[in-house]
Symmetry: C2
Subunit: 285 residues, 2 copies
């Protein structure tokens, strides 16, 4: 168009994308253009602010690496990741929560009832779960992908003192949907604050803590995969997660137990903590 | 907050930024959060689409370098850069247009009436300008920063066959605000298409051409700096600039002239092109 003005620019941009063949992509680019322009118009964005925004993206790029995505962290602290998780929820199914940056494929497969503690310090915890559909019917083909941080707050990928694959595993459920897993209590930790997202948190006087949590991915053929987290109700940060991942239904009480039969069977000390984890999956759409 | 839901998430995110002390930054982050969430909500953005978006940003980062910003190019092809330029306009002043990636500071200072052609092939052009305020009063302290591409479509920074500082200069205007400059006709060229922005243009069946243009920055003490472009009305791409930079007021007719006195005075051939460039600056706010 030979005469771009404030009145015709946004429509001209949208129509420049009208030949995208994929209907869904066309819609996404249209709405992205709409909201970017609305943001700039509403705020009367200046050249200097625009330049600072571009520089922020380059700083985020510069501190990213194959094992760290500052763009993901930005999405997390802006609540965008959490929103996408919440929208993926289905009625009656367990709620999802953020995947986080420390999931990698290929955790070792372990037998039901395995003990992940080995040489890890920390409070021993028995996780008792059952995977069902939204009506409570067992899903015997379900699998669990589990990972957490160590007692020092770090995941094995960030910590040379931990053995490879520390505190993570994959597991098949029993024919009645139950599974058991022995591990330690997770720890709260700080999201990385040495990049531009850390600058944003500091200038906002926001905390960078994530409350202690376990990560689980639960999958079963014919059902929607669930990516979620399980939080410790006694954690002081459970009310102010830096990435907005906490949902009331995912907060568990770690109950003190001392069942000698269970302790002997699973290699637990006489006194241990236990949580119950019912997982309900919705059918694929 | 212990229970993040779709109903309270966006407000929780906004209020997490309510302690930003700088009022303007607080407003910008609030509106950015608002529009990001509105975009994701309206489109019911899926995990897979979110992941593709994050991957797009990383591909943009990977192809960027100190002399190439794929994020700027993305802003350009989404019309965001043009919007910021249009909003910076002031009534009565010459309109702005995109700075582009090839401006660097420190062009050589040249005398009024200088000839930039040297060994460049191309059609010779006389640019005749005058810098005034919005009422037509000359601004004798105004300076011009001028740059353009060569006859092969490339700027000197991208082309080893051109001498350093080819076809660019800085110049002071005369006491009556006039300036003259002899150069060649600019050429249309393609924005870089080997990165993710190129993918977006291809899937949109959009052209990657920018119509031929000169770049100028005009500054005068006490007045708003003007960053703008001057387009060639005969260029076939003037109707479909890939970055939405064309405004009717910036499109010039390159008139054929043959004034022998002018040609002799400025080192032009008998037949040359000429454009007239009135520049009006608004006072600083």
């Amino acid at each position: 168009m030979k005469n771009i003005t404030r009145n015709n620019l946004t429509d001209t941009v949208k129509s420049s994308f009208s030949n995208i063949e994929d209907e869904r992509l066309r819609h996404l680019v249209n709405r992205l253009s709409h909201h970017l322009h609305a943001f700039a118009s509403e705020t009367q964005l200046t050249h200097e602010e625009w330049r600072e925004g571009i520089a922020f993206l380059h700083r985020a790029a510069d501190i990213s690496s194959p094992s760290r995505s500052e763009f993901t962290l930005l999405s997390d602290v802006l609540g965008l990741s959490s929103l996408v998780d919440l929208m993926a929820a289905r009625p009656g199914a367990t709620e999802g929560s953020v995947l986080g940056p420390f999931h990698t494929r290929g955790s070792p497969w372990m037998d039901n009832g395995s003990n992940l503690i080995r040489n890890n310090p920390g409070d021993p915890v028995l996780i008792r779960g059952r995977v069902t559909d939204i009506h409570g019917q067992a899903l015997p083909e379900a699998t669990i992908d589990f990972w957490q941080n160590a007692d020092n707050g770090m995941y094995w990928q960030m910590d040379d003192t931990q053995p490879q694959d520390n505190l993570r595993c994959q597991m098949k459920v029993l024919p009645d949907g139950h599974f058991e897993l022995v591990t330690i209590r997770p720890r709260p930790y700080l999201v990385p604050t040495d990049g531009p997202v850390g600058e944003l948190l500091r200038v906002s006087h926001r905390d960078a803590w994530r409350p202690a949590h376990y990560h689980v991915i639960v999958e079963a053929p014919g059902y929607r995969s669930l990516i979620t987290e399980v939080f410790d109700s006694s954690d002081p940060w459970v009310d102010k997660d830096a990435v907005f991942g906490v949902r009331a239904s995912l907060v568990c009480d770690f109950k003190s137990e001392s069942d000698s039969h269970t302790a002997a069977r699973l290699g637990l000390p006489a006194q241990y903590f236990a949580i119950d984890l019912p997982i309900r999956l919705a059918r694929e759409d």
